[in-house]
Symmetry: C2
């Protein structure tokens, strides 16, 4: 797991919106682009960043490229958060 790539990918609002867009199901690059006010190359760049973080999977289907969420990374992300906060929050929160 590439921790830095994951955090970096999540740091951009456009990329987070792409993830949210893909919750509704996989979509082609063009479909996604239609929902964003941004050039296709810019979005393509964001797809790459998300892919480096292993947050997206893609598959060519004819002329189209279909992107979909890789939900398995969700667990990694949760683990990273726990790591940062030392999971004290779970067992005993003595600072309320």
């Amino acid at each position: 797991m590439k921790q830095q790539a994951l955090f970096k990918a999540l740091a951009d609002p456009t990329r987070r919106q792409i993830l949210k867009r893909l919750r509704r199901g996989s979509a082609t690059a063009g479909d996604i682009a239609a929902d964003f006010e941004m050039s296709k190359p810019s979005l393509s760049h964001h797809f790459n960043v998300l892919k480096e973080a292993d947050l997206l999977r893609n598959e060519r289907r004819g002329q189209h490229i279909v992107y979909s969420l890789n939900t398995t990374v969700f667990e990694d992300a949760a683990g990273l958060l726990l790591d940062l906060f030392g999971n004290r929050a779970r067992e005993d929160s003595n600072e309320n």
Copy 2:
């Protein structure tokens, strides 16, 4: 809760290390600086970013400024992750 500030704050490795350092308990700016190979002003900048994300609290104690983790934001962060992945991962993972 400032979502963008939170994600941005977590995107930097130095800042993540600061958070981890503070898991061991609160510490003064100088104490923390002693653990990092970086100038104090640079660290001070990182403290600010973390504070904007509400990840840190600080309190002046004499000449020192004591920083500590704000663990309540942990829940916010977890919520944001769930939001991104649509918590499908919890109920039904049909892509193993």
